[in-house]
């Protein structure tokens, strides 16, 4: 079996009984060939899970993608870092105040803890709390999902 990376192939699998589509990147040509033999209709999941698309959500990046991209935080990716208490809140699926977020920025961000480990995806928002405008980090998809919803 070859060890070739094929990077640019994307597979979308329709979720059974749902109206969303899951997007995968098969890591090798061999994997793709085997998938074709099995038949896409029989496949539940394969390769790197990149994210999902659903009505109303253009694209929601996945947890495995957060881990894949975390090494790029030092250079290219848009990332923030939360402190220990912020990490706990975030993994419970709660918003984190910007005081606990280093490098807070608006919009979609990759969220790291102080060890540089990916915790998932968040969104920097500005919200009115009790008449005061607060900058928040809202969870988009956090690792706590594995516990709450992972199955």
């Amino acid at each position: 079996m070859g060890e070739q990376d094929i990077g640019n192939v994307i597979i979308a699998l329709g979720a059974r009984g749902g109206d969303y589509v899951e997007v995968y990147a098969p890591p090798s040509r061999e994997l793709l060939k085997v998938a074709v033999k099995i038949g896409v209709d029989n496949i539940y999941s394969m390769g790197l899970y990149v994210g999902m698309m659903a009505p109303g959500i253009w694209f929601k990046p996945s947890l495995p993608l957060a881990h894949k991209l975390a090494p790029l935080c030092k250079s290219k990716a848009k990332c923030v870092e939360v402190d220990e208490a912020g990490e706990r809140f975030f993994l419970y699926g709660r918003s984190v105040l910007s005081e606990r977020v280093s490098g807070w920025k608006p919009g979609l961000v990759l969220v790291l803890n102080t060890r540089g480990e990916a915790l998932g995806w968040g969104r920097g928002t500005i919200t009115n709390i009790g008449g005061v405008k607060r900058r928040l980090l809202e969870p988009v998809w956090d690792l706590g999902w594995y516990l709450r919803r992972g199955g």
């Binding site: 060890e3 085997v34 099995i38 029989n42 999941s45 394969m46 990490e87 690792l143 992972g150 199955g151």
Partner: protein, 334 residues
């Protein structure tokens, strides 16, 4: 019913009516046919030890994911949270959790990062018998919730191509979740029946961790002492035999199959292997390399294929694990 099984069951029934067997079964809450079989394999004293061991809940064990983290570091991080861990002698990446710390074992941040899997020590030994290698095509025919699937990719550093099959749509969710949590990507999860779904032929290795009566997990689920009957056992034997026959058709010549079952029942272990060896001259048994006791070769006056001694058993009262049967097979076609 498989003729050999019918012969065995007649003798099991006779033994089960022995007052001493019935008394023991009643004392520990088992169906008498189960105890009758333990007495046949272990003798009276061994049976007592087994029944006593099954009364003690298992100490939780975890498998460190050394694909992502140094296991010493994981140990330190969990100990900082108040966990007390002890390394298992075997398998190498296993830890016994002597004391729990803050939060549940399945809810620590280390768990969410994919740094470990909660798994019994016998269960985490099975993948070693498969000796998976990078670059190989490997089929796991009964994969959920993913203990062994994740371990196959861990042992190959996510460099094998794993086809993980599961027929239960509810159980397939945790399978996917564990593979993703532990950050593997060289897998295809197939939702379907391993007996029928199209699967790639010519696999280098096939794991069949077969559906079973669960007689080996009484320490986790005491209801198994009395929830199954001899006819359930016969049904599950037939399923296991058919699945193993499909495994043989999937593996390439020279390829390896590991058959395992979390059961103490020879009907789900040795008798399945015996039947396959009788019907498939291209299949042989190979040493599995695990610290297990030998497979049973004589059962209720039925002599089984001698090669079955090279299969293995994990016993709650000997290994302090779940009860497990394991056998490594090699297929060579002319």
């Amino acid at each position: 019913m498989y003729e050999l099984l019918a012969r065995v069951f007649e003798k099991v029934k006779t033994r089960a009516s022995d007052p001493k067997v019935r008394e023991l079964a009643e004392r520990y809450g088992y169906k008498a046919y189960m105890v009758a079989r333990y007495v046949e394999v272990l003798g009276w004293s061994g049976t007592q030890h087994l029944l006593e061991a099954n009364e003690k809940p298992l100490t939780p064990t975890i498998r460190c994911n050394d694909y992502l983290i140094d296991c010493g570091e994981l140990e330190e991080r969990l100990e900082e949270k108040g966990y007390v861990l002890e390394r298992l002698e075997f398998p190498p990446l296993g830890f016994r959790v002597l004391e729990k710390g803050v939060g549940s074992l399945g809810g620590t941040h280390e768990y969410l990062q994919g740094y470990y899997y909660i798994q019994d020590a016998a269960s985490m030994s099975i993948a070693y018998a498969l000796t998976p290698e990078p670059g190989e095509l490997i089929v796991d025919m009964a994969a959920a919730p993913g203990g062994k699937s994740t371990q196959i990719l861990q042992l190959t550093r996510d460099r094998a191509l794993l086809v993980a099959v599961e027929k239960n749509p509810r159980r397939i969710r945790p399978l996917r979740s564990h593979l993703q949590r532990m950050r593997f990507s060289r897998y295809i999860i197939v939702l379907g029946d391993s007996l029928r779904v199209p699967l790639p032929a010519g696999a280098d290795r096939v794991l069949l961790d077969a559906p079973s009566t669960g007689e080996g997990i009484i320490r986790r689920d005491p209801s198994r002492k009395a929830s199954r009957s001899l006819s359930d056992l016969s049904y599950i034997h037939e399923t296991q035999y058919r699945l193993l026959s499909r495994a043989i058709s999937l593996v390439k010549s020279g390829g390896v199959i590991v058959y395992s079952a979390c059961s103490l029942a020879p009907e789900e272990g040795e008798l399945v292997i015996h039947r396959v060896l009788q019907e498939h001259p291209e299949v042989t048994v190979e040493p599995h390399g695990l610290p297990a006791t030998p497979g049973v070769t004589s059962y209720f006056s039925v002599d089984l294929d001698d090669r079955i001694a090279s299969c293995g058993r994990f016993w709650p009262h000997i290994h302090d694990t779940e009860g497990f049967f394991v056998c490594r097979l090699r297929v060579r076609r002319n």
